[in-house]
Symmetry: C2
Subunit: 301 residues, 2 copies
Amino acid sequence: MNLPDHVTIKEVGPRDGLQNEAKEIPTENKVTWINLLSETGLSSIEISSFVHPKWIPQLKDAAQVAASIERKPALTYAALVPNQKGLEAALTADVDEVAVFMSASETHNLKNINKTIDETFPVLQNVVQTAKREGKQVRGYVSTVFECPYDGKTSQDQVLRVSDRLLRMGIDELSMGDTLGTADPKQVDEALVYWKKHLSLENMAMHFHNTRGMALANIVVSMQHGITTFDASLGGLGGCPYADGASGNLATDDLVHMLHKMGIHTGIDEAALQKAADYMQRVLGKPLPSHGMQILNKERV
Amino acid sequence: MNLPDHVTIKEVGPRDGLQNEAKEIPTENKVTWINLLSETGLSSIEISSFVHPKWIPQLKDAAQVAASIERKPALTYAALVPNQKGLEAALTADVDEVAVFMSASETHNLKNINKTIDETFPVLQNVVQTAKREGKQVRGYVSTVFECPYDGKTSQDQVLRVSDRLLRMGIDELSMGDTLGTADPKQVDEALVYWKKHLSLENMAMHFHNTRGMALANIVVSMQHGITTFDASLGGLGGCPYADGASGNLATDDLVHMLHKMGIHTGIDEAALQKAADYMQRVLGKPLPSHGMQILNKERV
């Protein structure tokens, strides 16, 4: 088995997880949580999203969160930005990295950001240019790279077109999103074989959802192709607000557990991770769905 | 990716699933459930266990279940037997296949069947001989092939010793059990590379538990080595009664879903499978843990 020695995990729970919680989490709890996450050995945390509160009211306190957390110098604190206005707020909040996003499928892009794919490019181009000029790292999320809830199976040529365009704008990393969590290991294998011919996999992260339990299998296939960066959400919090049935990001704790068991380093301390997951579980007042937290909760009964 | 065209799934829910349910299921519900399972296209169902009711009271109606189900000629109806007495009951009940079992680790074997490994061999030898003479198929479960809850990591030489002995007794198939659900994909890969050198993988099934969410990843690795038979429990019912924290057999519905998505045939109808899972969910009066059933239950809210 061709496996890496080290994998980088980007924690997206405070953004991708919390944006899907019906319950509004008080800012101070978010801050405490992110501070706990900063103690785990994670190298990157996406702390919030600077989108209009009309769209994601759960994250309306992004600026306050960014201003209140204790930042560790070695850590990258990232935030999602949809446009120039969001970028300005993110720059004011002085995050280390901004993440732009669009979809590889036309209808998901339209429903998610109210623009066609071609209308989205110039908006993101401005954001990326400004962010790079301000010395920020820039990440580009490509959603629905395997399947779209509206358009069905995504054309891989369309994925390449969007990815290539984002890379040419100057983004530092692509994050390829299995937004619905429907990708199977064979599909991931075939996509990576195809992408490899046209894109460098070096700056590519994979973002899997665990809707049908296939995320860890997809991680293993991705590692065999040389992917070493994965997004995950602690405890399995969150999903996609615009995709019905797309519940459950891949859980950071389950991913770290598997990687460590396989002898792959992440730099993350599992006990500290569990402490952070346990904290958010208490704040939410409901069990988190990761296997790790299910076992912990069961042991406590 | 080296993948098979067809995979055989052996349904173990009525035995491995129900033996772990605290709630006693009425015989008629078990019979209805097995009849529903017979309509799904499954080729093999383990319907119960002829062990002493002192050990597994939930399955004390094995003979009644075997006598009451409607049997389809193309289907193999199997039952677990611990010893000669259990075998006689299974022969009287006229099941098609009997399954003997033991552990690859000494302490699990001792706690599970109250004998050392060496004391177990002659008992099983008699069972296998009699069963074969009576024209039955015989399956041999080897538990704790990766890890034992008492002895830690299992020596692969011990796994080979037990497996080889069972094969020499004349069993038709080995089922290698990740009893704790702790095996990771690298470990499965390494074990299969090693086993291949000494055993034929043709008569080998893998039996994964999904305790830490790695079962489907382990299935993919196993298929890449040529394994084409897997045990699973509909809805993710069950685990190991003698292993703390070992919750959750791999769910048949999640396995079938992944295989079909990968273009691998199973002969199983997903809608019929869901109907059977839904029935047992109603009987148990609690949600089944498979991803498939979680999604179904969510859609209904």
